[in-house]
Amino acid sequence: MTDLAFPGLINYWIVFLLMMIGLYIVIAHENLIKKIVGLNVFQVSVFVFYISMAKVKGGTAPILDGTIEVFSNPLPHVLILTAIVVGVATTALGLALVVRIQESYNTIEDNEIRDIEERED
């Protein structure tokens, strides 16, 4: 079908750009809170990728009406619902760990923590 040519694969590529931005934030930045925010950016982009695969052109939300024929695929929606909630659970635990690290080392920059650890050895 020719009307599949736009957007075709373009929006998947933009989602990959988002994923790489998230990955860059996690790898390159030293601040622990920034890393957790980068992890969130990565997570949301993965969810967007998944839900983009579930969309059917001309379909609508998967709520049965009796009159509508074409629906978007409900299975990825269910999986991503679980993933979002698990993501916030992970973020909450990560932030609690950051609070404890701040109280122990008095810093949340990863390179400073490594220096303190090396000096203690």
Binding site: F6, I21, I51, M53, V56, K57, T82, A89
Partner: protein, 348 residues
């Protein structure tokens, strides 16, 4: 070509580009408060994108959980730690950029085999999804297919998820649950007088809105069978009302209204209700979490089972959100006391 489909495609690409710009801003800004706000905006744009992609339940959950609860938790953490980030070394930044570019190119190369966006003949739509869409009305009888798949067809996964939330709340309690010095009654009285006198606009508006927020949370919980909604969203909205109360009237007043043993009991009771529904099915000679035997007709049993498990999930999510918020806020009170006591009580 259909004008609606073209518009939704253009909106899709434009929203993705907005998200990319926000992501780059998150990477470059060093003031952490601005970064947290931008990540809330990023989640909210993700929720808009889900609505454009027909995923209304997911959009609801992302807006409530990602843009709401996550932002509150991150601001709570920022209050306990520093608010600025040190600069990144340029060698490390370049190395990370090279790695990300290579991974990105590999992903683009891998995606060249994928079916086009929105293709109805993609393999993903011809495996088990047609069975859910066609047979859900006959087997379960609920309009919202996402709820019926979440709570009945894939109910085992959702039980695992409820346990994950429970574990996260238990983990946060273990890590930062203690550390709050109990205030003396005279201190508490001056506290409440100060709060009552000064924040009059916030007090009045929150008193007006909190009942409606709670009512909306209950509506979302029970209406999840017929429209977007369900246990997770309802739990977060219900918890948000209590967090608002705690932010404006103080943690002590929130604890007086909702003692910590109550939230802990509700936390456990939610997962107990979920697993208990499965055990009741087993007692009635069916498999674990088979709801057909819970009432006189199979579809009636499915309705009862889905109501019970969604309520269990809602209770657990509500208790988890309130517990985590109170743990962070209570740690802040301990921090302040420690500073003023010159390193005395409150630190363990």
């Amino acid at each position: 070509m259909n004008i609606e489909i073209i518009t939704s495609d253009v909106l899709n690409v434009v929203t993705l580009l907005f998200m990319a710009v926000t992501g780059i801003a998150i990477a470059r800004i060093r003031n952490l408060f601005a970064v947290v706000m931008l990540s809330g905006i990023y989640s909210l744009m993700g929720a808009t994108l889900y609505v454009i992609l027909d995923a209304v339940d997911v959009a609801f959950t992302e807006a409530a959980v990602g843009a709401g609860a996550s932002t509150v938790l991150m601001i709570g953490t920022l209050a306990l730690t520093s608010a600025r980030e040190n600069a990144t070394g340029s060698s490390q930044a370049i190395k990370a950029a090279i790695v990300c570019t290579f991974v990105g190119i590999a992903l683009v190369y891998a995606s060249l085999d994928m079916p086009y966006f929105g293709d109805p003949s993609a393999p993903i739509h011809h495996h088990v999804a047609p069975r859910y869409l066609n047979d859900s009305m006959a087997e379960i009888g609920l309009p919202n297919v996402v709820t019926s798949v979440l709570a009945s067809y894939r109910g085992y996964d959702t039980m695992g998820e409820a346990f994950v939330i429970f574990t996260a709340a238990a983990g946060v309690i273990t890590l930062i649950g203690r550390g709050r010095r109990e205030k003396s009654p005279s201190e508490r009285k001056t506290d409440s007088q100060n709060i009552m006198k000064r924040k009059i606009v916030l007090r009045v508006v929150s008193k007006l809105l909190i009942p409606f927020i709670l009512l909306f949370g209950l509506y979302v919980q029970w209406h999840g069978d017929f429209g977007p909604g369900g246990g997770f969203q309802a739990g977060v909205i219900f918890g948000a009302a209590f967090i608002l109360y705690g932010l404006i009237y103080g943690l002590g007043t929130l604890r007086a209204a909702l003692p910590s043993w109550v939230t802990r009991v509700i936390l456990a009771l939610g997962v107990l209700l979920y697993a208990g529904t499965g055990v009741v099915s087993m007692i009635k000679d069916a498999r674990f979490l088979d709801y057909n035997v819970l009432a006189s007709t199979p579809t009636g049993g499915q309705h009862v089972g889905i109501l019970l498990v969604e309520f269990g999930v809602g209770m657990t999510v509500f208790a988890a959100i309130v517990t985590i918020f109170c743990a962070f806020a209570g740690r802040a009170a301990a921090d302040v006391n420690t500073v003023s006591d010159q390193g005395g009580a409150g630190n363990d």
